[in-house]
Symmetry: D2
Subunit: 255 residues, 4 copies
């Protein structure tokens, strides 16, 4: 059974977090949970941040009930994005790790609220935050500190347009050399291209990162959001196998 505290304390565990961009239905999540090998932490959006308010905004309360139901059947931890400090009341029951999305990195009032909650936070870098600003923002969650914050590099905004964002792999190496924070890489948002996720996952392990956050959907073509960057459970299992082969060279163990 997966122990989150043990992971945070370990130097060698390489954690694979995966799941659909947005929670869409029971069938969808059950597929992911049953088809992905050894999935210990499920990610999925309940309250979605969408650029356009007329697009799918997530299942909301209905999604929370669904996760509760699934937790009785499957053994997994759940991570989802919080976008408003007032959501803490409803989310806290089902959430094991709070995700702060890139658009909320500077939402200091939200960070202060999470600091009070005491649960681990996966803290995404803003599109165009410098590493220094990102680390400074962690100070708003100083009670959590390096023991409970997982930094997540998800690509930065540059002039380049062939990929959705530019994975700043330098930042991962830099942070691992200069701090004790865990760093998770999100190859799905960093590229926006499903076929690049595999190689960028290899890159993440080679960089010294502590894990991956991957968008995975049983049927990406029909996903209600981010359809171009989600991979299938089968592809995810293949990546896991390859990372398991790489892991010993980097003193890591894939979990």
């Amino acid at each position: 059974m997966f122990d989150l505290n043990e992971y945070m304390a370990s130097k060698s565990q390489f954690l694979m977090i995966a799941g659909p961009c947005a929670l869409e239905s029971k069938e969808q999540v059950e597929s992911v949970l049953s088809e992905c090998d050894d999935l210990k932490v499920l990610r999925s959006g309940i309250f979605k941040m969408r650029t356009n308010p007329d697009t799918f905004q997530g299942l909301g309360d209905q999604g929370i009930a669904l996760i509760k139901e699934l937790k009785d059947k499957f053994d997994f931890k759940f991570i989802t994005e919080i976008t408003d400090p007032r959501q803490v009341g409803v989310l806290n029951e089902v959430v094991d790790i709070y995700q702060v999305g890139s658009r909320n990195m500077y939402n200091y009032d939200l960070l202060k609220e999470l600091n009070l909650m005491g649960k681990p936070v996966l803290f995404k870098r803003a599109f165009s935050a410098t590493v220094k600003e990102w680390l400074n923002a962690c100070d708003y969650m100083s009670d959590l500190g390096e023991e409970k914050i997982l930094l997540c590099e998800r690509g930065i905004r540059t002039f380049e347009t062939s990929t959705r964002n530019t994975l700043d792999i330098n930042s991962v190496v830099y942070i691992k050399q200069n701090t004790n924070f865990k760093v998770i890489v999100d190859p799905s948002h960093a590229s926006g291209i499903a076929s690049m996720v595999r190689k960028l996952s290899h890159v993440a392990m080679a960089s010294g990162a502590d894990g991956l956050l991957i968008e995975c959907h049983p049927n990406p073509v029909q996903a209600l959001s981010d359809k171009d960057q989600q991979i299938t459970p089968k592809e995810l299992n293949q990546i896991r196998k390859e990372l398991q082969e790489m892991a010993p060279l980097f003193d890591k163990k894939v979990i």
Copy 2:
């Protein structure tokens, strides 16, 4: 007496909004209100967004009481930044225009809350938001619409380091040509250099902008935040005079 609705409906009024970065004391704000010629809208921060949580975070509730007191003595409208939807309760009494700062442009839950409030919103562009994203985010305040939203260009983040940000004057021209939104330019943040504010104010009027948001402090050297980019009331009055001379050429009237 200044009528905000009239300004929003007018094509020719060029509005000068000014005030200190942060509300620091009664003396400070009284200086600004009495020394700045014809100041119709005062800007100042009560709840500050600071990169570092250990720096001055604003006067909070004490600041609200202060504004109430000053409104009895001076005739002005007040604009301040809101950083959390839960601040609406305390702020609404003294606020005439809500400011959404660049770090909260993507805070859609905050935008939805302001949409319900019905008061005008000065909506700053995020550091690295495209014009398209900025305009899309306005859809979260569709009840306010072009009649009650003032877009504020405050400089974008680029590779250039000689100035704090890069004023995207293209965006002002582009938005005025393609939408009906009002656009306010913030030369203080766009440059981060007090001595550049004057010329950038000329630029703003020449670009077709509808006004300026300028940081002005009776004694910039002693400001608790943003000391390098605040100008004095005397400098502000000089800029106002120069803009009044320019205005007829651009079918504008400085207010």
Copy 3:
């Protein structure tokens, strides 16, 4: 008659340089020279820098003969881009001001060659050069110095895509405050949108710039390159009139 040395020494002359992106035919250039009011300096490309080698690369030697012929008939100075130090031999006869394009700002061997030639150089900033690098590169033409170098801000590369480039108007204000260099603004490349050239020309004068470099074609729709950003002689004449009205406010005189 226009005196280039007088312009370089003057603080008040605001110079309008205009002409087609590329020299295409005698008729084309004659139209520009005869229809643009008071055009003292003609710009046009003879050796074009194109991203794609299969697109129109300029008239080359034939273009040089054409300019010679036109100089007998019209009174104008000629500016064109040099892309290779070996072109000096053929270009020197017809060129009054050498243009170094943004893609050659770091071509130090070219700069050294121009330093030897002694003619004025219009020196465009590279897409992504910092102001500091731009000024440093001028040191490769130290014999020309502030007396013979015209810096040209033509827009920088950022994440924004609604305009072709981002006009860095901050850089103009900054350089005028901190150096004695002349600064010319190129609103055509800075926006890539013909309809924005007029307002950006106003902006340039308000910023303290010393002139404009504008792409102007008798029939932009049929231009062999940059068709979206060229304006007509008639539009150029209208801009000139508006700038003449603005000029006294900025202690300038449009030439």
Copy 4:
């Protein structure tokens, strides 16, 4: 003995190119050649591109003589930067691979000259070139084509300042998926920090790159240029060993 054509034709050879930023002395290069294990291709600058003309500009002709002398004693191929088409005459005798530096990526006249020479070209991406522009520029060397061009990703310019540049590892994965070009990664310039070169070298192999270009100096502290990013031969040898362990997992062989 190393065969360059064989490397260009191979899918599995992972080439390590190393050497000092600038050729400084016979002792310096001999140290590198004798202390670096199996060094098949030496890199070093003879004509340096420096931002500031008053800094060390390279040994020039003296450097060429030195390389000739060393080629009699050691078995290696030589790669150096060409900055002016007129250098071809002196460089061609000692150069096996021409390097086009990032500041010359858009120097199309130089590319056309190299296209005529027929030797392999290591073609660095400009600071802020899009992948599309980079690939388009290769069309100026269409006679060389995928058989003789080695693309080199050396970091792009972004807003981030904690590292000198931002390694765009996405671009490596993207180009390997979409073209047949070889891609070399330059971790020295991409980070500007010697201690990051090791991890970024691992990253390069994991990304699917075909080799590395590493700045290596017998005594980095005393280097006349780029002293912060050069590693020692001993550190290089350690990286080589680690890459040899990784190689089989990626169907590669380190040469």
